[in-house]
Amino acid sequence: MAAENIERTRGKTEHHVDVSLWFALLFLLCFGLVMIYSASSYTAFADYGDQMYYLKRQAVAAGLGLIAMVFVSRIPYHFWERFSLFGVLASAVLICLVKTPLGVESHGARRWIKTGIPGFNLQPAEVAKIAVILFLAVMICKMGSRIKTWKGLIVMMVAPGVLFLMIWKITDNMSSALIVLAIAALMVFVASPDYKKFILVGFLGVAAAVGLVMLVKYTDVFDSFRATRIRVWLNPESDPDDKGFQTLQALYAIGSGGVRGKGLGQSMQKLSFLPESQNDMIFSIICEELGLLGAAAIMLMFTILIWRMMIIANNAPDLFGGLLVTGVISHIAVQAVLNVAVVTNTIPNTGISLPFISYGGSSVIFLLVEMGLVFSVAREIEYRGY
């Protein structure tokens, strides 16, 4: 039925524009800027003497991202296939650069490198995400039906696995590492006709996670930093001033929003109570100010965005394009879902930003470049025609 939809519009206009997709994207971008201003103006003024400090920087990044997106959307996506290996290698090198003097430390972690443009630092993990999408799309096409075998699956996961370990261990950024792995897993899932293997792996993964949590909860086998994090996750009120602080503050914000919220700009928690309120925790400020209805609207926008991209993926002129779009879907969806899960304390607290909305220059630019790929694929649907 989705295919019919495209079928109908095809031929009517040569340059079909997916209005819903554009609307959802621009809505999220603009809404993100509004919320960054709302969430950060207070602390921005306190820290930098400029209420619009974060807003300005994010607006510049979003503008650059939009230009890059339009540019990329005009380039036929097959152009990029020759860079698939290069992308992976380049991101590996960039990750390593974090450890050199080029690396920049912020928020207690060394995850950025200098770009030479003042005020903008690059997070190599963002490069790695797009590199993995491109690399796997090419690899899967080349591998063909061999992907059905265990061996095929494992070969497919080698490069993402290495990047996963590098991002986790070198930049100490487990959440980004997990997203890279999740993108790869979803792309391979789509590419393979098989279900059993994925259900088995998924089941084992869930069982391992539950087992780990149980061990942490009922025994003292683990006593590391991450074990504490899991304990605090299970009961954030057990350590309200330290480890559970951010989670609890986020829950305070969400809970005090109620159904309709306090009104835009009326958040109390953003007044230095909730750390990273314009960043990873921005969703809880949205909940506080706009309530359950506002939160539902954002979730709906993401769903529309993903739905429109799914239709593009399904109607892509070839598997390569479809996989590229699938990769972008995975990236945006996984990141959004994990962010909301963290904010609602559904999973242990880990730093994941909300796509298009959280403050973060690298993140929004690379997300828009990925959207550029999607639009590029969408364009060729029309061009190819019959």
Partner: protein, 592 residues
Amino acid sequence: MSEDKIKTTDPRLRSKLRFYHRKKITITFFILTGICIFLMGRLTHFMIFCSEHYAEAARELHERERSIKAARGRILDRNGAVLADNRTVCSVSVIYYQIENPEEVIRFLSQELSMPEEEIRKKVQKRSSMERIKSNVDKETGDRIRERNLAGVKVDEDYKRHYPYGDLASKVLGFTGSDNQGILGLEVKYDSYLQGSKGKILTMTDAKGIEVEREGERRMEPIAGKDLVTSLDVNVQSYASQLAKQALKTKEARGVCIIVMNAKNGELIGMVNEPEFDLNAPYELCEDDFIGMEGKSEQDVLNAKWRNACINDTYEPGSTFKIITAAAGLEEGVVSTDSSFYCPGYVVVDDRRIRCHKIAGHGSQDFTHAVMNSCNPAFVTLGLRIGAERYFHYFDAFGLRKKTGIDLPGEAGTIMHKLENVGNVELATISFGQSFQITPIQLLVTAAAIVNGGTRVTPHFGVKVVDSGTGEEKSFSYPVEEGIVSPETSETMRYVLEKVVSEGGGKNGAVTGFRIGGKTATSQTLPRGTGQYISSFLAFAPAEDPEVIAIAIINRPKGTYYGGQIAAPILRQLYENILSYLGIMSYTSQEE
């Protein structure tokens, strides 16, 4: 750009999507949508079902609390005269982050509050959320400061305890501290009723404690304390106070105590402890306060000044205690009005010779005259007849060993010999009120029990507490012990003690037109040998059915020191003025 410009080397990259690819993409979409729905469920859980819990926790985090004092309950006398009241005063504070013109604030406050500029500057420049400049500022000044409306200056209204009668009944009423807590007297004892509960002003602040203007304030109104209605009578108290002051001055005494009590129910109508102190300035000391307190700390001097001698201090009662010995003798049946005693001016007990105050001796006398004469040898004889063991039995039975239970803090206990240490000599001295110590209130309550028919009452001030808002009342009841002495003993004692006043040593206590019973005493201060005395007189009226009983004690008078001569006139003057006022009918003797 067109597609043919892009050279694709590998045809595999042009392979088409298969059906299963589309199916899987769709499945992926639905899995993700499913997760979104699940997360919406989580959000609903927090934002609807736990909303109140988290909103409340958040509010607690955001709100800064400023307390509003509750108006403390008033203390009233039996007729509703206000003994302790509240005055509205102001406290002036500054809020660092709101001050716009610090210099102006400093100048203005310094001028209005007459405080040095440096002191205010220090507080104005302190980066705290709120700094108190001065409290207890009178209302007019507070209003002026508020009207000026300077940014960052806050004027809060506050209550300050005020005692309209100044030093009247100071040691009974007591006073309060800066935090509305009772420090002395009834203010302490009835603190829980008087205090009420504090209200709150809750202000929203950010994490650094800076007020968030747009959120406004939330007020939780304070609950005012309840009024305490006491049995004190301002008129009786004032009159007694005046007499005590006069005696203190003319006799250059260390102190004068007067207690006036309802003999039937224990309500205390007056309790004077001269020198009193000004309740509106309890911490002020004058030179006189340091007399006899050399080398003591200021706090010790204050404590001495605040002491209520009627209940906090014990003394040797002397001859007034003969009431107890006589009652014990009557109860034991070892004496009756027919008994006769012989006084040669002394009595020999074991190897001791105890003198009578009348060196020539009282000669032969009956029981009534022995009491009228306050004859020591007669009472020694009586005491020895009762015997130590039985004497102690009555001492306990009359309730002398336990505290009276008066509703004031710090009542002192009785200091008495142990029975096994009491020989004849000790028993002899106890019989006429020496060698042990009790409090004046103890003596008064015991004497009341003996003359009122045998009912030992609990002396008290607190009658009831009243909620001035709702009019709700709570009356207090106090334990009463009946049958301390038999009605016959009581009747005999009333008769004998009336004789003391009408014909005996208490003549100066007689009030024209009223039948008064009483007993005088002159006892030495402890330690002995300083030539200092305590003169006292205990009297009740009307003698046939005592309604009111009072005691006057003059501590270390100069000059004449006999109780019959200096203490008795005090109660006489008091009774002359208060008996009809209290509604006690005058008795017109048939002869007149």
